[in-house]
């Protein structure tokens, strides 16, 4: 017996949404097997990474706080990738958003007022968007590949963090630690549920995803992103400028990454530290794909990814699994998802033995 791929007349909607779920489940099964084979407690690893964060109510607030930046960045990336604009430097735009917000927080140090946080938010969005504008400019003016430039800028932005916290922004009372001082009260994100660490970023993330979903599915802007991504030639015929689309995609994805950077620095961190670049920008790439480049799917994917982060920390303390195992699980998930993509366009057909003999 043999199997053959046969092209579907229409892409399967069922497979489009079933494959991400299958990818998560397969990652658990195959992950357990592989980790057992290489000498870890495979089943324990899967249990701790994927289930403990859900069963332990005390971990839920961690989930929300970790999922929020992933969702916000992931939504931006899902819009850009729809337009076939490969911004993979969201980590750098996240960092620049955080730095811009930090700059506002440090400049207004000691002041109070409701306007400080909105100003930081504005600075964060502009910081991220401005950093994304560099690859956009180089791409539209000179045709330079945005994958390489946005990524190179990420490496540079990390060095900028190191420099700023080591020299000009260093906390004078910090006993020589390379970090800024703790922001004043007015520049710190309030928690919204007393007694937890859940901050404003969580509802903002959900709102961003919902707005993006509406815009992408109903508006001419969303249509433009999708047409340029699916068929650039047709887009030009339909009256949409490819360069304008690249700009919009980069600015929106960069701005949202910068917003996430502001929320992180004003929320969980409350100061700028060298450890601020936490790879959210890279993980959000997986989030965007796992969410099928659909803002609502990104919410689901962001939560799944947050589970693996929180679970990875649990597994680190409970069964001594390295935190890098989380990265392996996340990459496996993306591999399975990409492998499953073929089922959206093709169906597997059993080839009858008679036909096989001829083939």
């Amino acid at each position: 017996m043999q199997f053959r791929l046969e092209k579907r007349l229409e892409p399967s909607r069922l497979m489009l949404y079933a494959t991400p779920i299958a990818a998560v489940l397969l990652t658990m099964v195959i992950g357990a097997v592989i980790f057992s084979l290489i000498g870890y407690d495979g089943i324990g690893a899967v249990r701790e990474i994927f289930f403990t964060p859900l069963t332990n109510a005390f971990k839920w607030q961690d989930l929300g706080v970790k999922a929020a930046p992933l969702i916000i960045i992931g939504v931006g990336l899902s819009i850009a990738y729809r337009a076939n604009v490969w911004n993979i430097g969201a980590e750098g735009q996240y960092v620049m958003g955080g730095l811009a917000a930090t700059w506002v927080a440090l400049s207004t140090y000691g002041m109070s007022g409701w306007w400080i946080l909105p100003l930081m938010m504005l600075a964060g969005v502009i910081g991220g968007a401005a950093y994304a504008a560099i690859p956009a400019l180089l791409k539209t003016r000179l045709g330079v590949n945005e994958i390489l430039t946005s990524l190179m800028l990420t490496y540079a932005s990390v060095q900028l963090v190191y420099y700023l916290v080591r020299a000009p922004w260093k906390d004078p009372m910090g006993m020589g630690f390379p970090q800024t001082r703790i922001f004043s009260e007015a520049a710190r994100l309030p928690t919204i549920i007393p007694g937890t660490i859940v901050h404003m970023g969580v509802p903002i993330a959900v709102a961003v995803a919902l707005i993006a979903w509406f815009v992408m599915s109903r508006s001419v802007f969303g249509y433009q992103m999708k047409v340029v991504g699916a068929a650039p030639h047709a887009a030009r015929y339909g009256g949409f400028s490819e360069n304008k689309t690249i700009w919009l995609a980069m600015l929106v994805s960069g701005g949202l990454a910068g917003m996430a950077g502001m929320l992180e620095v004003a929320g969980p961190f409350q100061r700028m530290v060298p450890g601020f670049p936490t790879n959210y920008g890279f993980t959000a790439i997986i989030v965007a794909f796992l969410g099928r480049l659909n803002p609502l799917g990104v919410i689901f994917a962001g939560i799944v990814m947050a589970i693996t982060f929180v679970g990875g920390e649990v597994a680190q303390t409970s069964i001594g699994l390295s935190s890098s195992a989380t990265g392996v699980f996340q990459a496996m998930m993306l591999f399975f998802l990409l492998a499953g993509d073929i089922l959206v366009r093709y169906r597997i057909k059993r080839v009858a033995p008679a036909a096989e003999a001829r083939a």
């Binding site: 180089l138 390489l148 190179m152 490496y155 790439i285 990459a331 591999f335």
Partner: protein, 309 residues
């Protein structure tokens, strides 16, 4: 500057350039076959940890290089299977491969940080390289000569052999190559595996040639620079040399600046550390200003192969 210093700089530049040159040479062949594998960084990290562990356990440098190549091939075949057998998006799969390689190498390398190994020594006996001038020619390890030999070999293969012609044909027009009767997928698998081997060896250069230890993410974006270098070289092997040595020079300046070397240390060390990446962008900009640079790109680069039957 004394002649000794200049020679020392040349030797350092060549060493720092070697991993980028090897990885870029591999990626050039992959791209000539019409495949864009953005997972070079990930494959390099897997190669680096494979080489490190082998070296740590056996002390045999050449076995370490061989296993790094094998690990690179194995990693590249994940990419090959997804993109060639299942027609998955090459950009996304390449990114996934880098995320995977980063995580996997960190996991495999757990407990190996801070364990020392020895660097791979020069290929030729020290007597030949006593004179400074001879040192510039004969003072390197086998990996350096390997990198140069591979540039020549790849040029010869692509330009002069029938197999190379077939590989270029597959990259230019996969449907035509298929209709004439060549196995597009087969050729591309071979190219991807070659790229994987080269990336693995490039990764091995880090513990074997540059810093005799294991550190997570020790390739620090050099795999991405290698991808950029292929664009810079307009897919021509000998131009890779110029690009790689330019990056080697920038990275060497960083080393000297960090060591407190006079005028270079006026600039903050973080800027030096960021310089290779900024230079990469600058180089990409310069190459794009020159007209029709991108027209040299293989016509099928990055496109999935979908024969109608």
């Amino acid at each position: 500057m004394t002649p000794e210093l200049i020679i020392a700089i040349i030797v350092t530049v060549v060493g720092a350039s070697t991993p980028i040159l090897i990885a870029a040479t591999g990626e050039l062949v992959v791209e000539k076959a019409g495949v864009l594998n953005l997972g070079v960084e990930g494959m390099m990290l897997v190669g680096a940890i494979a080489a490190f562990i082998t070296l740590f356990l056996t002390g045999n440098h050449y076995l370490a290089i061989a296993l790094a190549a094998a690990a690179g091939v194995a990693t590249s075949l994940i990419f090959g299977f997804l993109t060639l057998s299942l027609s998955a998006n090459q950009t996304a799969t390449g990114l996934a491969l880098t995320i995977f390689g980063t995580g996997f190498s960190a996991l495999a390398g757990q407990g190996y940080s801070a364990r020392p190994v020895t660097l791979l020594g020069p290929l030729f006996p020290a007597e030949i390289a006593t004179h400074p001038v001879w040192r510039v020619l004969f003072g390197y390890s086998a990996l350096v000569y390997f990198s140069l030999a591979m540039v020549i070999a790849v040029w010869w293969f692509l330009k002069k052999t029938r197999a190379g012609l077939i590989l270029r044909a597959v990259g230019e027009n996969d449907l035509s190559a298929h209709s004439i009767g060549y196995s597009v997928v087969g050729v591309r698998y071979a190219a991807v595996a070659f790229g994987g081997a080269m990336a693995g060896i490039a990764g091995a250069c880090f513990p074997l040639l540059l810093t005799p230890q294991w550190a997570e993410r020790m390739t620090a974006g050099r795999g991405w620079i290698a991808v950029a270098l292929v664009v810079f070289a307009s897919w021509k092997p000998f131009r890779l040399l110029a690009g790689a040595y330019l990056f080697g020079l920038v990275m060497t300046m960083e080393l000297y600046a960090k060591a407190g070397g006079g005028p270079l240390s006026v600039i903050p060390s973080e800027l030096w550390a960021a310089l290779p990446y900024l230079v990469t962008i600058a180089v990409l900009v310069l190459i794009s200003i020159r007209r029709d640079a991108s027209s040299n790109a293989p016509a099928c680069l990055g496109r999935p192969f979908l024969p109608s039957n």
